[in-house]
Point group: C2
Chain length 324, copies 2
């Protein structure tokens, strides 16, 4: 069952007031650490380092009420930040949420966003430790995630890839972009294709996949947020390597082929250019860690491209430009 | 010399593109920690804990182009977050910046915000370690500050005040609200009153004032962000105490009296209800630490009010309501 739309009835944010709005968020994710000027986190384990990242979600730009729900939006805001923490090989432990919304918006929108956030952070035993709530012209969510990088191994960086390693991936590639195209088409979406829609509305990543990859010897990692070619190019440029993809391992599956047929779309475009899957992409010597699969090799750079497919540059580009 | 207004000429954000916008921010505050999926911070000193806080600044709500400049705005975004870190007795070490802006906005606006941010974080030897830049209908800044709480003393909390302690303050009270009223009046502002205007545009707090107070034995602290009565009430309610203010120590000074005369305003309203000074307010047994002054006593609660002046409830309320 596919759900979209924001509630528009019931008391507004302006009617219930700031205190009640904040309380609804805190009730969804209670934490003794929350509520002071700043949150004090417990001392970390020996040698562990703090990892921090932030992402902003803007109404009309990153999401629209007609293709998602507040609950999915709250989940997605957490997942896309936690994917960045996992992509360092670290474990998410805390979240701060800033939220701006029009006073005329239904207060239940924020309540459902808060429930979605709680749903995801519970999976990680993480906590909502602080935030800010304010009025504004449109709904804007800004989430900061804090993680813990245990032990003394280095983090998984964009510059850590080495020729001879395997390129491994965890999770679907292209699903989110296909799901968004289905939602935006306005067509009746077959139930079978629900996984694509859900991948757009609230992608799921496996807690600790990044930690597992680091333990297995991975040295580079990122998540597929702006598109497979775009994000692999970021590693390639920072590491001075090239990726050669094995097309058989990333070929569109039945769901993507089915959606492409319905929409008259090119499913490979979703695979190469679609982002927001937040699939983890890593490199290591040896076999793919549990939950990962090999999708290519790390090679020496050449003049052709940062990312090749069977040795040749693909006819796809992609990537997200914020001010376009 | 009072400056207001945002640049409107030159290339727009849409014209220069996301990459150049991000680069201009990074160039202003370069850090080797910035640029990966998430920032990895160095291991902390023994027993130290991580402290985190976030604040969102929305155009038309928290600031207007006609009463500030992008440079001041960038400074203020940092200061108000660092004040929250200091209010725990901790030291600010890192900042994450999310920024949403219309593509038609002059790119130099973001460049100047970035310079303002750099100006403040340099004072603390802190670093800009990450962020996000995106298009949106209006300018929204979301800053997260991360601090380090060294040693094994407890943090300075809202619940830490005890009857018998002194109430101490660091910095001016009421200046920011007076400065905003002067700016919004549209009058020609006498040069002598510039400190009030600057207190609004970019309040200055002393790096390490919170750390000094903690070392001197302070147990509770907050910053004057929503108004003196409002913020003291937060401590009073959390600690189960009452504050009795000594009016002689917070009486409007010559600058406030001068501004009040010009505007036909009540200067005490600025003192009691004006926020955004980000003055640190703390409690401790013994004398005021260096840079602080005593402004009252911590007393047992009574039925009159959370905050009294010479034993009586003042005829002021105040406080900031986001969705009003």
């Amino acid at each position: 069952m596919i759900h979209t739309g924001f509630p528009v009835s019931g008391p507004t944010l302006g009617e219930v007031g700031e205190h009640a709005v904040i309380q609804s968020i805190i009730d969804a994710s209670p934490s003794p650490v929350n509520g002071d000027d700043a949150a004090v986190l417990s001392p970390a384990s020996p040698n562990s380092r703090v990892v921090a990242t932030t992402d902003m979600l803007v109404e009309g730009r990153h999401f629209r009420a007609d293709v998602t729900t507040p609950w999915h939006l709250g989940r997605k805001a957490v997942v896309q930040n936690f994917a960045d923490i996992e992509a360092m090989g670290a474990r998410p432990i805390a979240v701060l949420l800033s939220l701006s919304a029009p006073p005329a918006m239904a207060a239940s929108v924020v309540g459902e966003i808060a429930r979605g956030i709680a749903h995801e952070i519970d999976k990680y035993a993480a906590e909502l430790v602080g935030g800010d709530v304010t009025a504004g012209e449109s709904l804007v969510l800004s989430v900061t995630a804090i993680g813990s990088l245990g032990g003394n191994r280095p983090p998984l960086t964009l510059s850590g890839a080495r020729p001879g390693q395997n390129l491994v991936a965890h999770g679907a590639i292209g699903y989110s972009a296909a799901g968004l195209d289905l939602l935006e088409s306005g067509m009746e979406i077959p139930e079978k294709l629900e996984p694509l829609v859900l991948a757009y509305q609230a992608p799921v990543i496996s807690p600790s996949a990044g930690v597992v990859a680091r333990s297995a010897g991975a040295s580079a990692m990122t998540d597929n947020s702006d598109g497979l070619l775009h994000d692999l190019t970021a590693i390639a440029e920072n590491s001075g390597v090239r990726f050669d993809l094995d097309p058989a391992t990333i070929a569109p599956d039945d769901l993507l082929l089915h959606a492409a047929e319905l929409l008259g779309a090119d499913p490979w475009k979703w695979v190469y250019e679609g982002g927001e899957d937040h699939t983890l992409l890593g490199t290591l010597h040896g076999n793919a860690p549990v939950g990962f699969r090999s999708i290519g090799k790390v090679c020496r750079p050449n003049d052709a491209a940062c990312v090749t497919v069977d040795g040749a540059a693909p006819n796809y580009s992609g990537g997200w430009e914020s001010f376009a």
